[in-house]
């Protein structure tokens, strides 16, 4: 196709899955465009230290993402970060993606690698007090709360591990969790329970945040009794898991009840020529290594698909 905006493959998403796919495809001399609405590296850039990526003893997540991007562009992939995507068409032999600036990109295959994002509570006051008492990152903002009392929301590994790490700074942590049990591994639960600065409010949730210029307290609802109580507090850290970035793909590709994309073993979706890799997929484990593996498989399957089109 004589179109400067035509590529063999367009990858939507720039985390480890998308970047790995870009490395494999561009190294195979396929014209590859990667569009990501965020920073190349994805959620990996939010990790201070990755110590379980084979072959690399320790690395900052931002650095690993930067190296992956460098590898992809060195092989010829075009990587566009912070790119707005306004619409796309995935059916048919030629797929198209329209960017926010009006540019239309086409390709024979598309790899979805849209990843996930931190879940927010979505209750009144959350937007108002973000950065003024509400945080989603203990390592970033923990020292602002030195000598203060805080709430940690969540019951998974992140919530309990971050609660323990925050006790370095704060005088008291109250963990608020919606269930009567934790989803975290037992060792994380045991460590939190053994910490004298940590107490627990189970079967409870935050109904709203209040304050003037900064957060002054939260309204906590007991999910068993329905009773709401005002709780004066200096800060709240929220760690309630991730949601897949698939809202705009609904109605296009097949998903499960959790809005995760359903794929075959070769990362193919229900649409011919459309593959999906990484944390947006329906799967149990989400690690950098699993995203990289997905990206590899999706790239090889997409290359196979394009070759089969040419053969036919």
């Amino acid at each position: 196709m004589e179109n400067s905006n035509h590529y063999d493959v367009i990858i939507l998403g720039g985390g480890p899955a998308g970047l790995t796919a870009a490395i494999y495809l561009s190294r195979a001399r396929l014209e590859t465009l990667l569009l990501t609405e965020g920073t190349p590296g994805g959620q990996m850039t939010l990790t201070h230290e990755i110590a379980n990526y084979p072959g690399i003893e320790k690395i900052n997540g931002h650095m690993l993402g930067s190296v992956m991007k460098k590898q992809a562009t060195a092989f010829g992939a075009v990587v566009k970060g912070n790119a707005e995507i306004s619409s796309f068409s995935l059916e048919g032999e030629v797929k198209s993606v329209t960017a926010g600036d009006g540019q239309i990109y086409t390709a024979g295959a598309v790899i979805l690698a849209t990843g996930g994002r931190s879940r927010t509570l979505g209750v009144p006051g959350e937007d108002t007090f973000k950065g003024r008492g509400i945080s989603y990152c203990a390592t970033c903002d923990g020292d602002f709360f030195t000598g203060k009392e805080i709430v940690v929301v969540g019951g998974g590994n992140s919530a309990l591990e971050e609660a323990v790490s925050l006790t370095k700074y704060v005088t008291k942590v109250t963990i608020v969790h919606q269930f009567d049990h934790f989803q975290a591994f037992q060792f994380a639960v045991d460590e939190a329970k053994a910490n004298p600065k940590i107490s627990f409010l189970m079967s409870s949730t935050i109904a709203s945040f209040y304050g003037e210029e900064k957060l002054e307290g939260v309204k906590i609802k007991n999910l068993v009794t329905g009773v709401e109580t005002n709780f004066k507090i200096d800060g709240v850290f929220i760690f309630i898991g991730y949601v897949p970035n698939t809202e705009r793909l609904r109605g296009h590709v097949e998903m499960n009840e959790r809005s995760e994309i359903i794929t075959g073993a070769d990362m193919s979706t229900n649409i011919k020529g459309v593959f999906s890799a990484g944390d947006a997929n329906a799967k149990r484990y989400r690690q950098v290594t699993t995203a990289v593996a997905d990206g590899t498989v999706a790239a090889l399957a997409a290359a196979d698909y394009l070759h089969s089109l040419k053969r036919n």
């Binding site: 965020g38 900052n60 950065g131 210029e213």
Partner: protein, 117 residues
């Protein structure tokens, strides 16, 4: 030390000089952390587009960053990064914690005007 492709502000004196010599200035004051890196990335993307704005970062742990940390607009902030906007030498807007591309563009457009097509 901030490992970004932005120009760095190293001292309060340098910051004062920058905002006195440039009409529109955006400075992101943070660390190489999860909430800060995306904002640096957004600024790197926008720098060539908003040619009428000067973009800088500053290390939050540099003692000289008190020039940003301790101002009327940032005093209540409890989340990195502190992102500040100067018009004609005066701080006109400040945000705390991570911001999206759209949030940054909205502020740039309202405080400094849209970029030329």
């Amino acid at each position: 030390m901030l490992y970004t492709n932005l120009n760095h502000v190293e001292s309060a004196e340098q910051l004062e000089k920058i905002i006195s010599e440039n009409e529109n200035v955006m400075v992101c004051c943070g660390r190489m952390g999860p909430m800060c890196i995306p904002v640096y990335g957004i600024m790197e993307e926008l720098e060539p587009v908003y040619s009428h704005v000067k973009f800088f970062d500053m290390d939050f742990d540099n003692p000289e960053a008190m020039a940003i940390r301790n101002t009327p607009l940032t005093r209540g902030f409890m989340g990195l990064p502190f992102t500040v906007y100067y018009k004609n030498g005066k701080m006109v807007k400040a945000t705390s914690s991570i911001q999206s591309m759209q949030q940054v563009k909205t502020i740039l457009n309202s405080e400094f005007g849209q970029p030329n097509a």
